[in-house]
Symmetry: C2
Subunit: 234 residues, 2 copies
């Protein structure tokens, strides 16, 4: 299996960065090929702009998704985007490893999605969800957060964790056709003991060794919608 | 009223940029003071990093939120962050104006949140939700998207719009104590006629002139939770 790990933490000594290194070690130990995109180390630029295209379909008016399609078709994506897209083409499994910032991804990782999940390859028109461009590949979130387990749930102060993750797991990963495995979550990380961190790393190792045992999340099927994406009447 | 508009679109001629300009015009026309942070025009850096602090509490190990608190207390935030935070202090109403990217904000705006909504001022410990640091101020989302109205709803292909917006409206704006007004939403923007766009702009003008008539969204009250954020037993 080819695995791409996209990592987004600004402290290489952090627990979150240790999670990314552990994933490389465990998966390579199983004989998989692993590539790591360490976005902070790469100085990755997360800002979607006109500079992302070496040649423009319309040089006078930027419609970002249309220029993505044009650049995919003409091989004129900026070099940093093309390099990341090559890793996506290569990968069977994509792991996003990050600390939760504001119930979502850090901007450097959001911008990796904005710029690299290009229209014309990863999705386009009604090539979404179970007809998305990355169908056949798998993805998984692996993240740490400051909150504790009791802060998430139907009556908890922050509500359901699934609801928090929905725009990412369904709206990004599911949207492009990826089969999304249940996430690995490390709670309360800035405040826990060294022993508790080691326990989390042991759990993450076990999680990585048993990926195939977990059923992917369920998202909409376009079979249930017509060509204009209205629900089919049964 | 003092109004801060934070705008994040990479094409100044776009409909979304016209929305931002219209808001400046309408609100100034009502006698309000308006500041516009046009993130693309400013070349705003969205990447949260060690460079955000002119002096460090711990130079050897970066814990971003702890350094934010230290820098707020010591006046050592990076100049671009301090300038944006001054606008937040000044504002009675904050409008985030952006195109939906991946069921969320473009990275340049997500990074404005990551870097500018600093721990130690905007929130901290249990100073969250209705005890958040920006309590007493209001906020509103104003956004455009490619999807059509029938694609959002309980049985629709993308699910509920409210669910999509939850990490932003509740997880960001509500979290820091802002009173969140219902959003203004322009659907299907890349594909609609010039006439339909003009209709949307007329609706947005009306929306801006009637802000005070709309009830804010309802989020958790910390009165319902104990000091460790467990739900209180009634």
């Amino acid at each position: 299996m080819n695995v791409l790990i996209v990592h987004a933490h600004n402290e290489p000594q952090s627990f979150n960065s240790a999670m990314a290194r552990l994933a490389v070690e465990v998966l390579e130990g199983q004989g998989h090929s692993v590539q790591l995109s360490d976005l902070y180390a790469m100085g990755f630029n997360p800002v979607a702009s006109a500079d992302d295209f070496r040649q423009r379909a319309n040089a006078d008016y930027l419609v970002y998704a249309l220029e993505q399609r044009h650049a995919v078709n003409n091989g004129t994506l900026a070099a940093d985007i093309a390099a990341e897209l090559d890793k996506i083409r290569w990968a069977d499994l994509i792991i996003l490893n990050f600390p939760i910032y504001w119930f979502s991804m850090p901007a450097i990782l959001k911008g990796w999605i904005d710029r690299v999940f290009v229209s014309g390859y990863c999705y386009g028109g009604t090539r979404i969800y179970d007809r998305g461009g990355l169908k056949g590949k798998r993805a998984m979130l692996s993240f740490s957060l400051g909150g504790q387990t009791h802060m998430f749930g139907p009556d908890a102060v922050h509500g359901d964790l699934d609801a928090m993750l929905r725009p990412i797991q369904r709206g990004v990963l599911g949207y492009v056709g990826l089969s999304v495995l249940p996430p690995f979550v490390a709670f309360h990380v800035p405040y826990i003991s060294e022993q508790a961190r080691q326990q989390y790393l042991a759990q993450y190792r076990e999680h990585l060794l048993t990926l195939d045992e977990r059923a992917p999340l369920v998202f909409p099927s376009l079979d249930d919608f017509d060509a204009t994406l209205h629900p089919r009447v049964l």
